[in-house]
C-alpha cells in the first residue's frame, strides 16, 4: 500500500514524513522522526506514557494515526522546554524528586502541561483526576502532585 505524505508542525517546527495508513502517531514519532521521548507502555491508551498535545488537546499518540497529524500543531516532551530553559514543570519535577525510573515522566509532564494550559489554578483533586490517565508505578504520585501544584503556583507568580 502506498505511504501517506504528511505535513505537520511539531514543537514549533515544520515537519513532514511518510507513514503507512495503519501506523500510529507514536510509531511515527519514535521510528520516523527519532523523537523517542514519547514512550510506549501499553499501546492501548491506558498508561499515558505516549501523551502528546495535538491542537491544544491531550492525546495518547498510540491511539492516533500518523496520518491524522496532517495540518496539526503538535507538542511532544521534546518541545516542552524553551531552548535551554526548562519548563517550570520540568524544574519542579527535578526539585521535588517527582520521578524515580523516569519512564512515565515524559507523558506525565505533557499531561501536566495540558492541565496548566487549560487550568492555571487546579485543586489537588483536579490535578489527580486529570492525571488519572497517566500511570506511574514508582512514586505513588505524591511527589508528582506536589510538583504540579508547585509549578502551577510559580507560573501564577505566587
Amino acid at each position: 500500500m502506498a505511504k501517506i505524505h504528511v505535513t505537520t508542525k511539531i514543537n514549533g517546527e515544520d515537519a513532514e514524513f511518510l507513514c503507512e495508513p495503519q501506523q500510529t502517531m507514536l510509531d511515527v514519532l519514535r521510528d520516523e522522526l527519532s523523537l523517542t521521548g514519547s514512550k510506549e507502555g501499553c499501546g492501548s491508551g491506558d498508561c499515558g506514557a505516549c501523551s502528546i498535545i495535538v491542537d491544544g488537546r491531550l492525546v495518547c499518540s498510540c491511539l492516533m494515526f500518523g496520518a491524522e497529524a496532517s495540518g496539526a500543531e503538535i507538542t511532544t516532551i521534546e518541545g516542552i522546554a524553551n531552548g535551554d530553559t526548562l519548563h517550570p514543570l520540568q524544574q519542579k519535577f527535578l526539585e521535588h524528586a517527582a520521578l524515580q525510573c523516569g519512564f512515565c515522566t515524559p507523558g506525565v509532564l505533557v499531561a501536566s502541561k495540558a492541565l496548566l494550559d487549560a487550568n492555571p489554578s487546579p485543586t489537588e483533586e483536579q490535578a489527580r483526576y486529570w492525571l488519572a490517565g497517566n500511570l506511574c508505578r514508582c512514586t505513588g504520585y505524591d511527589k508528582i502532585i506536589e510538583a504540579v501544584m508547585d509549578a502551577a503556583a510559580e507560573m501564577r507568580g505566587e
Partner: protein
C-alpha cells in the same frame, strides 16, 4: 572508616540535591530499552502458546521463513540443551535449565504466553505477520491454575521428573509440589496451652504483576568473531551477561552488556526473557536484532509474584503477650519451581520477639507464568495474613493494635525464628512514632451517609542484603569527579552514589557525575535488588572515594615535599598538618588534579567488595479508609508510612521508595489480580482490566523517617526500597475491619468482594 559520630558534620549526605541524570529524564532524551538503534538492525517477535498446558507435537516454520523480509526463525531447538544447575539470581534460587525452558519451550508449553518460537524480519510489522504463520501443532493437556488443584491427588503433573524436596521419606511419585521448607524456634504446638486467646484463620492472596511501565526491550548484536553486544533495560547488566552466556553456551568475556535506563523493575527485571532469543536470532541472521514486548506479552509472559494460601494461628495471654505462633504458607511458583516461599516463611513473624514459633510452606507449580521477584518477595503475602491475625488478636483482647505490637516487638538481641539474632534494628521506634503520630491520634471524622470509616495499622520486615559490588572514582583533569557504579539506577541511586563520594572528598555534589558502567567498564556487581545498592555499592563507591582522598594527600605531600602523613584532607583541600601546619597554602582538588601528571599520573581508584552487614528494614503503616456500603468500594482517605531507614542519604528518594511501595501495596490490597478463564488463559493482560492505582485513587502518602544508623555502612544506610510494600495489605484490611467489623481474609478487597462480604454479614 565511618561518618557516624555525633561530631561529624555532614554537608552533602542527608540533603536533597537534583539527581545528576534528572534533566535528560524530564526532556525525553534518556535512552530506555526500546530507544536504541544499531546500524543494520532488524526486529523480532515471539510466538507464544495459546494453551495453558500442551505437548508440542511439531513446529513448522517454513511459511514464516518464506515471508519476504524474514531473516531468521528460531525454536527451542536453536538453543543449547543445558544441564540442570542451581543459580542464585538475586532474591531467590533458580535453575539455568528451567530458565532456558522458560525463555523458550521444549517439548511442552506450560502456560498461556509461554514462548515457542521467535521470528526476525526487516520490520516489526513483518515479524509480527510472519510470527502468525509459524504452525505449531499442540496436543492439549489438562491444566491446573490454583495451588489447591495443583496439590490435589490425581492433578495433572507439569514436570514428571519433579519430586518434592524437604520431606521425609523422599516421595517416589512426581507431583507439583517442588519443596517444603520449615523454620522453627521452640515448641509452638505445646506453647498454645499457655494462651488465653487464640486466633486462627485462612487467608488468600492473588498473584500480582510488578507492572513496571516500561515493557522488556533489548538490542543484541552477535558478530562473526563470536563476540556479542547487548543493549538492554534490566536490573543487572552482569546478570544479563551471565545468563546469556549460560543459556547460549558462550563465554562471559565474549558478551558485553550496555545497561540502558530502566523503566521500573521492582524485581521483575532480575531475569532474562528476550535477550537469549535475540542473541540466537542475531547469530542465525547475522544482523543486530531488536526485541520489545507488548504490554500483553509482559502480563502473559513475565513476572508476576505468587498468589498464596496462608493458614495462621496465634495465641496470647490475656495481657497481650504472644506465646505461640504458627504459619503455613503455600505459594504458586508458576510453571517452574522457585516461589519465594522461603522468605515468606522467614519474614512471617520477624516483627516479633517469640520463643515458640513455627513457619513452614510449600512451593507449588501450576500452569501460570513462572513467578519473578517482586519487592520483598514473599514477605507481603505471609505478612498480610500474620498482621491481619495480630489485628484480630488485638480486637479479641480489647487492646490497641499498636500497643499489642509494642508488647511483642522484636528488638536488639531478639533471636528471630529464621535464625539470626537481630541487631541495630529500629522496629520499636517505628511503632512508637506511629502510635504517637498526629495521624494515629486524630479523629476519623464522621462518614457520609451510606459509608463507614475505619483505621488500621500494620507492620512489616524485610532482610535487605549486601553482596558483591563494584564502584570507581575518577578525578578528571579539571578537578571534577566521575563516579562509576556497577548497578543500574532504578530510582535515583546515581544521586546517592555521587553524594557519598562528594561527602568523602569534601566537594559540592554538582562537581561529581555518576554514571552506570557497562560490564566491560566497571567491576562485577550483583544485580540491583534486595534493597542493596545504596548499602553495598554505596560502600564500594565510598571506599574508592576514600582511596582517592588518600592519594590526593600523597600527591600534595609530593608537591610540598613533606611526608604524606603530614597532610590532612579538609573541605575539598589538602592542608599541611602537624609541624607543617600553615607552612603552605592549601591545595584544592583542582590544583592537585592539574598537576597529577607530575605526581604519578591520573588519580583514580576502584573498589570491588563483598558487602556484609546490611541492616534489616522495619516499617509500620497507618491507613484510614472509607467503605461504601452500596458499592463495596474502599477509598483510602489518609495513609502514613513510618520506616527505619538507617540513614537517609537522599531523603526525597527515600520518601519516594516508601510512597511508591505503599501504593503498590494498596493496589495489591484493593484491585490487582490475575484472572484466568476455564481454559487457563489470562483474561486481563492489559492496564484497562489489570488496574494499578492511579492518581485519583489516592491521598498524599505521608512519611516518617526513623534513622537508627547501621554501623556496618560508612554513613549508616540501610536498604529502604522493599519493606514499604510489606505492611499495606494488612493495614488496609485492618482499616476495613475497623470500619465494618468484617475481617477480609482474601485479596483483592475489590468492590464485588467487599460488597459480597457486607451482604453476607447482613444475611
Amino acid at each position: 572508616m565511618n561518618y557516624l559520630g555525633k561530631d561529624v558534620q555532614l554537608k552533602v549526605v542527608g540533603t536533597r540535591p537534583i539527581r545528576p541524570d534528572g534533566v535528560e529524564k524530564v526532556n525525553g532524551r534518556a535512552a530506555f530499552g526500546a530507544d536504541v538503534a544499531v546500524s543494520g538492525m532488524i526486529h523480532a517477535k515471539v510466538v507464544r502458546s495459546p494453551h495453558a498446558h500442551a505437548r508440542i507435537k511439531s513446529i513448522d516454520t517454513s511459511k514464516a521463513e518464506a515471508v519476504k523480509g524474514v531473516s531468521a526463525v528460531i525454536t527451542g531447538a536453536d538453543l543449547p540443551d543445558i544441564p540442570s544447575e542451581e543459580a542464585f539470581v538475586g532474591e531467590g534460587p533458580a535453575n539455568f535449565r528451567e530458565m532456558s525452558h522458560n525463555v523458550i519451550a521444549r517439548g511442552k508449553v506450560l502456560y498461556d504466553g509461554h514462548a515457542v518460537a521467535a521470528v526476525a524480519a526487516t520490520s516489526a510489522a513483518i515479524a509480527e505477520e510472519a510470527a502468525r504463520l509459524v504452525e505449531v501443532e499442540y496436543e492439549v493437556l489438562p491444566h491446573v491454575i490454583s495451588v489447591e488443584e495443583a496439590m490435589a491427588d490425581g492433578a495433572p503433573v507439569l514436570h514428571d521428573d519433579m519430586f518434592t524436596q524437604g520431606v521425609d521419606p523422599k516421595p517416589t511419585k512426581a507431583s507439583n509440589v517442588a519443596k517444603r521448607v520449615e523454620f522453627k524456634l521452640g515448641d509452638s504446638n505445646a506453647a498454645f496451652s499457655k494462651a488465653d486467646v487464640i486466633v486462627e484463620r485462612q487467608y488468600k492472596t492473588q498473584p500480582v504483576h510488578q507492572a513496571y511501565i516500561e515493557p522488556h526491550a533489548c538490542v543484541v548484536s552477535y558478530n562473526p568473531d563470536g563476540q556479542a553486544q547487548i543493549w538492554c533495560s534490566s536490573q543487572g547488566q552482569f546478570m544479563v551477561r551471565a545468563f546469556c552466556a549460560k543459556l547460549l553456551g558462550m563465554d562471559i568475556a565474549s558478551i558485553r552488556v550496555m545497561p540502558l535506563e530502566i523503566g521500573g523493575g521492582f524485581g521483575g527485571k532480575t531475569l532474562v526473557y528476550l535477550e537469549p532469543l535475540a542473541l540466537a536470532l542475531s547469530k542465525k541472521s547475522g544482523r543486530p536484532v531488536k526485541m520489545v514486548m507488548s504490554r500483553e506479552e509482559v502480563f502473559r509472559g513475565s513476572g508476576p509474584t505468587s498468589g498464596g494460601t496462608i493458614n495462621v494461628k496465634i495465641g496470647a495471654t490475656k495481657n497481650g503477650r504472644i506465646v505461640a505462633a504458627e504459619c503455613e504458607t503455600i505459594l504458586q511458583a508458576g510453571a517452574f519451581p522457585g516461589s519465594p516461599v522461603g522468605p515468606a516463611c522467614m519474614t512471617a513473624f520477624a516483627c516479633y520477639d517469640l520463643t515458640d514459633v513455627t513457619a513452614f510452606g510449600y512451593d507449588v507449580v501450576s500452569n501460570r507464568p513462572k513467578v519473578a521477584a517482586y519487592r520483598a518477595p514473599g514477605a507481603p503475602i505471609s505478612t498480610f495474613a500474620v498482621e491481619s491475625a495480630v489485628d484480630e488478636l488485638a480486637q479479641n483482647l480489647g487492646m490497641d493494635p499498636g500497643e499489642l505490637r509494642l508488647i511483642n516487638a522484636a528488638k536488639d538481641e531478639t533471636k528471630a525464628a529464621y535464625g539470626p539474632t537481630l541487631k541495630n534494628i529500629g522496629f520499636v521506634e517505628t511503632l512508637e512514632a506511629a502510635v504517637a503520630s498526629q495521624h494515629y491520634t486524630s479523629d476519623l471524622g464522621e462518614a457520609p451517609k451510606g459509608k463507614r470509616r475505619g483505621r488500621g495499622i500494620a507492620s512489616g520486615f524485610w532482610f535487605n542484603i549486601g553482596g558483591e559490588s563494584s564502584g570507581a572514582t575518577y578525578v578528571n583533569e579539571d578537578g571534577t569527579v566521575t563516579v562509576v557504579s556497577g548497578n543500574p539506577d532504578i530510582g535515583g541511586s546515581r544521586a546517592s552514589m555521587g553524594m557519598m563520594a562528594a561527602e568523602v572528598l569534601g566537594i559540592e555534589v554538582e562537581r561529581v557525575r555518576t554514571i552506570v558502567g557497562d560490564t566491560a567498564s566497571v567491576g562485577y556487581s550483583f544485580l540491583t535488588g534486595g534493597s542493596r545498592v545504596t548499602f553495598a555499592t554505596g560502600m564500594a563507591v565510598t571506599q574508592s572515594a576514600e582511596e582517592v582522598r588518600d592519594d590526593l594527600c600523597r600527591r600534595a605531600a609530593l608537591i610540598w615535599e613533606i611526608d604524606a602523613d603530614a597532610v590532612e584532607w579538609r573541605d575539598g583541600h589538602a592542608h599541611p598538618a602537624g609541624e607543617n601546619a600553615g607552612k603552605f597554602d592549601p591545595l584544592s582538588l583542582s590544583d592537585i588534579a592539574a598537576k597529577s601528571g607530575r605526581t604519578g599520573g591520573p588519580i583514580a581508584a576502584k573498589s570491588s567488595i563483598n558487602a556484609q552487614g546490611a541492616g534489616p528494614g522495619y516499617a509500620t503503616h497507618i491507613c484510614d479508609v472509607e467503605v461504601d456500603e452500596e458499592t463495596g468500594h474502599v477509598a483510602v482517605l489518609r495513609y502514613t508510612a513510618v520506616q527505619d531507614v538507617g540513614k537517609a542519604i537522599h531523603p526525597a528518594y527515600v520518601e519516594g521508595q516508601m510512597q511508591g511501595g505503599a501504593v503498590q501495596g494498596i493496589g495489591w490490597a484493593l484491585n490487582e489480580e490475575y484472572i484466568y478463564n476455564k481454559d487457563g488463559r489470562l483474561d486481563n493482560p492489559g492496564f484497562l482490566d489489570y488496574r494499578v492505582p492511579v492518581a485519583s485513587d489516592l491521598p498524599m502518602i505521608e512519611t516518617v523517617l526513623i534513622e537508627v544508623p547501621n554501623p556496618r555502612h560508612p554513613f549508616g544506610a540501610k536498604g529502604v526500597g522493599e519493606v514499604p510494600i510489606v505492611p499495606p495489605m494488612a493495614a488496609v484490611a485492618n482499616a476495613i475491619s475497623n470500619a465494618t467489623g468484617l475481617r477480609m481474609p482474601n485479596l483483592p478487597m475489590s468492590p464485588p468482594h467487599v460488597r459480597a462480604a457486607l451482604d453476607a454479614a447482613k444475611a
